[in-house]
């Protein structure tokens, strides 16, 4: 089988052995009502309300949405619009914690008896794609005909540099993952469960082989450490050989991909009834004093998390949600940890220094590393000349924004940025032509 292309990135996973410590002391907790792909949640609390760990703050709206729960106990201070990292605004619930972290007394494990109640429970758990995508897991698992599912891939590739939070899930929460695998086998009748791990994590491979031992339908697949190994379409192709067609979803080829932390979170909810209220995140980067893994209540501000890690040893030039290849740079440290946050990186001035683009030398590196086989140079040219027909013909819409092209470009051209603009322009053009 011909492997999809990609790039070799520095791993920088120095926090892999850092057993996460739990952070509980917060001054403020902030819950934007958008922590998933899709429409914002509707706030269901009012200023002055007392809340506990696990109390519902935002009700899922219709479609691609997922409920949001409080990660602290305390009092609702205000509900106010907040700037999101994507540039938009959404209402956010601000909570002043009482420091006691009292669990909501109303919490009981959900009653799960069949597929229907299992999906319902996953929807209520507030779990979304925790690898960073934020796709509501209940929606993903709620396929109309569960018999279409042939393989479920548990994504433990963790191909982004720096990030080790999934590594910690596989090492520290292996029992949660085992329970999760049993749930998938029981309710989704999953015929095959494949745990896919990049080969730079031998400890995780061992841990996962241990929990799948004796389980005939579940096994570990070790993949080369090539970025973007963990991207959905890449992972599906490299573990099953199946190609997700343009415009299709993994389920169209009988596959569902779940991040390993997502799976552990589902299992934990089914067992305890405590929804998704905390996240293990990797705090790293050249500006961080003590890089480490931390279990953080969702809603904690970035400033509080960095302070918990000893503050900054250098003035941060750039702060990221997620890894350096696909992470989103944030404008303010007052922004909170979200459900899908798996890492916070603070890069010092040197690492964050902007790069100047020079002439394209037509070396073809971008074209040759693109996992999808696109030609970023052609996309940029077609977008520049406004030729939407060309963009459509060269499948600009299939760009997954993994960043390989920009990464390898010797002229340091902003190729991903141009791809994003081209994709948006193409989508708008297709919509108006429909």
């Amino acid at each position: 089988m011909k492997r999809m292309k990609g790039v070799t990135v520095p791993h920088l996973k120095s926090t892999a052995d850092s057993v996460p410590t739990r952070m509980t002391d917060l001054d403020i907790a902030v819950y934007p009502m958008v922590q998933h792909i899709g429409a914002p949640c509707k706030p269901v609390c009012r200023p002055g309300d007392a809340v506990y760990v696990g109390t519902l703050l935002g009700q899922a709206s219709d479609g691609l949405s997922s409920p949001i729960y409080s990660g602290v106990s305390g009092t609702v201070d205000k509900i106010e619009d907040i700037l999101l990292s994507g540039g938009g605004y959404a209402p956010a619930v601000y909570i002043v914690p009482d420091g006691k972290m009292t669990p909501d007394p109303a919490i009981t494990p959900p009653v799960v008896t069949d597929l229907q109640s299992f999906i319902k429970a996953v929807e209520h758990s507030g779990v979304v794609g925790l690898g960073g995508a934020g796709f509501p897991t209940g929606v993903k698992l709620g396929v109309k005909d569960a018999s279409r599912i042939q393989e479920i891939i548990i994504n433990g590739a963790e191909c982004e540099p720096y990030i080790t939070s999934d590594t910690r899930t596989m090492l520290d929460r292996d029992q949660d993952m085992l329970e999760g695998i049993h749930l998938l086998q029981k309710y989704l009748q999953a015929k095959k469960i494949i745990i896919a791990i990049e080969k730079n994590k031998p400890k995780c491979v061992r841990a996962m082989r241990d929990i799948t031992e004796g389980n005939e339908a579940a096994f570990v697949k070790v993949l080369p450490s090539v970025y973007p190994q963990g991207a959905e379409k890449v992972l599906i192709y490299h573990t099953t050989g199946k190609v997700v067609p343009e415009g299709g979803l993994p389920i169209d080829v009988g596959v569902i991909v779940l991040n390993c932390t997502t799976l552990a979170a589902i299992a934990q909810y089914i067992r305890t009834g405590m929804p998704l209220v905390e996240k293990c995140i990797t705090v790293d980067g050249s500006a961080v004093m003590h890089p480490q893994n931390v279990i953080v209540p969702i809603g904690a501000t970035l400033e509080a998390v960095f302070n918990f890690c000893g503050g900054f040893k250098a003035q941060p030039g750039k702060v990221l949600y997620g890894g350096p290849m696909m992470g989103v740079s944030v404008p303010e440290l007052s922004m909170p940890v979200l459900k899908q946050t798996n890492a916070l990186l603070a890069l010092d001035g040197r690492d964050a220094a902007p790069v100047d683009a020079t002439n394209c030398i037509r070396c073809g590196r971008c074209t040759n590393v693109c996992p999808v086989g696109l030609a970023p140079v052609s996309i940029a040219a077609a977008y520049g000349s406004g030729s939407m027909e060309t963009l459509q013909k060269i499948h600009a819409n299939l760009c997954m924004e993994c960043g390989c092209c920009s990464y390898v470009c010797p002229a340091k051209r902003p190729l991903v940025q141009q791809n994003k603009l081209a994709k948006a322009a193409l989508a708008a053009w297709l919509k108006s032509n429909r």
Binding site: M4, V7, V9, Y237, V243, V244, P245, E246, G247, G248, L249, D252, Q315, G317, K318, V319, L320, P324, M325, M326, G327, S329, V330, P331, E332, L333, L345, L347, D351, A352, P354, T358, N359, I361, R362, C363, G364, R365, T367, N368, C370, P371, V372, G373, L374, A375, I394, H395, L398, E401, S406, Y407, V408, C409, P410, A411, K412, V416, Q417, K420
Partner: protein
């Protein structure tokens, strides 16, 4: 804490390879051949190379200053062009002709089309052809390499035009101890440079393999299934220099692996045809220039297959 944080689109790390680092690698890869040329043809080889490099760099700088563009001399590409042009000239060439060649390469072929990456033909190759057509006498005044023995420079025919019986041995061809342009004769030095470029991933194997392979195969069969005839062809003339350093030029060759193979085979076919049946003794420059012109079409025909792509109009709505 109220400092300004930068907002940029991902990715937030970049590889350490830059245009300048690539050009530096090419310069390093050309050094064995430069050393060999000094050994073979004497200090004048270095002198001619210096003249070409200097006039390339200065004409690039002058053009960019006059047209008020950002100077790009720092990317070292003009140095590469200068070295490659010099390697394609006989050591006896008058200085002023070398300067004209450099100006043609940089100003006409490179800068007038928009600078680095925008030229459709290889600057050094085109300049060499311009000089060859303009100054046929001095451009074909092949010198027998006696520089290393301290002797006089003696004119001789290039091995490709040599009378049967007077041609150098395969060993001479491999070491470069025969007549020819100053940087093209030592196949060994060029191979060392080529291997360096392959290891550094500046070039890929497809173009040189397809180019040299095609010339080898054609010479092998035309020469009556003779390995010696085939080896003779691939070791002589400008083939090694052309295949590793000129045909692999980024801007003027296709980007994909399949495109590079087509490009290399095309170069090989034309080179062999000119050598075996054409009027000119050597065809590498013409072959590369001709394939440069075909490059946009090859690029289009040899595009990579898009993963999971469905023809427009047949896309199922998810």
């Amino acid at each position: 804490m109220n400092q300004k944080l930068q907002i940029t689109v991902s990715p937030h790390i970049r590889s350490s390879v830059t245009t300048g680092s690539i050009m530096l690698d090419v310069i390093i890869a050309l050094c064995p051949a430069l050393a060999a040329s000094v050994w073979l043809f004497g200090a004048r080889a270095l002198y001619i190379t210096a003249i070409c490099v200097l006039s390339c760099v200065l004409s690039e700088l002058a053009f960019e200053l006059i047209t008020r563009r950002t100077p790009t001399v720092g990317d070292l590409s003009a140095i590469v062009t200068g070295m490659l042009l010099a390697f394609n000239l006989p050591v006896t060439i008058p200085e002023w002709q070398a300067v004209i060649g450099s100006v043609v390469a940089i100003v006409v072929v490179k800068q007038l089309f928009g600078g680095i990456g925008c030229n459709f033909a290889n600057p050094a190759i085109t300049a060499r052809i311009v000089l060859l057509l303009s100054f046929s006498g001095t451009m074909t005044n092949w010198t027998k390499p006696t520089g290393f023995s301290g002797g006089e420079l003696i004119s001789s025919a290039t091995p490709l035009a040599a009378e049967p019986g007077a041609s150098p041995s395969l060993y001479d061809l491999f070491l470069g101890t025969h007549g020819g342009c100053l940087g093209e004769t030592c196949a060994l030095a060029l191979l060392i440079g080529g291997v360096y470029l392959l290891i550094r991933k500046v070039i890929t194997w497809q173009t040189p393999a397809a180019f040299i392979g095609t010339v080898f195969l054609i010479s092998f069969f035309v020469g009556g299934c003779s390995f010696e005839a085939a080896l003779y062809q691939i070791l002589s003339g400008g083939l090694m220099l052309g295949a590793f350093f000129m045909a692999t030029d980024y801007a003027t060759s296709p980007p994909t692996a399949s495109g590079k193979i087509v490009f290399g085979i095309g170069c090989g076919l034309i080179t062999a045809a000119i050598r075996l049946w054409g009027t000119y003794p050597e065809g590498v420059s013409f072959a590369i220039l001709f394939m440069n012109i075909l490059t946009p079409y090859i690029t289009k025909l040899c595009a990579r297959k898009v993963f999971g792509a469905v023809p427009a109009g047949k896309i199922r709505k998810a």
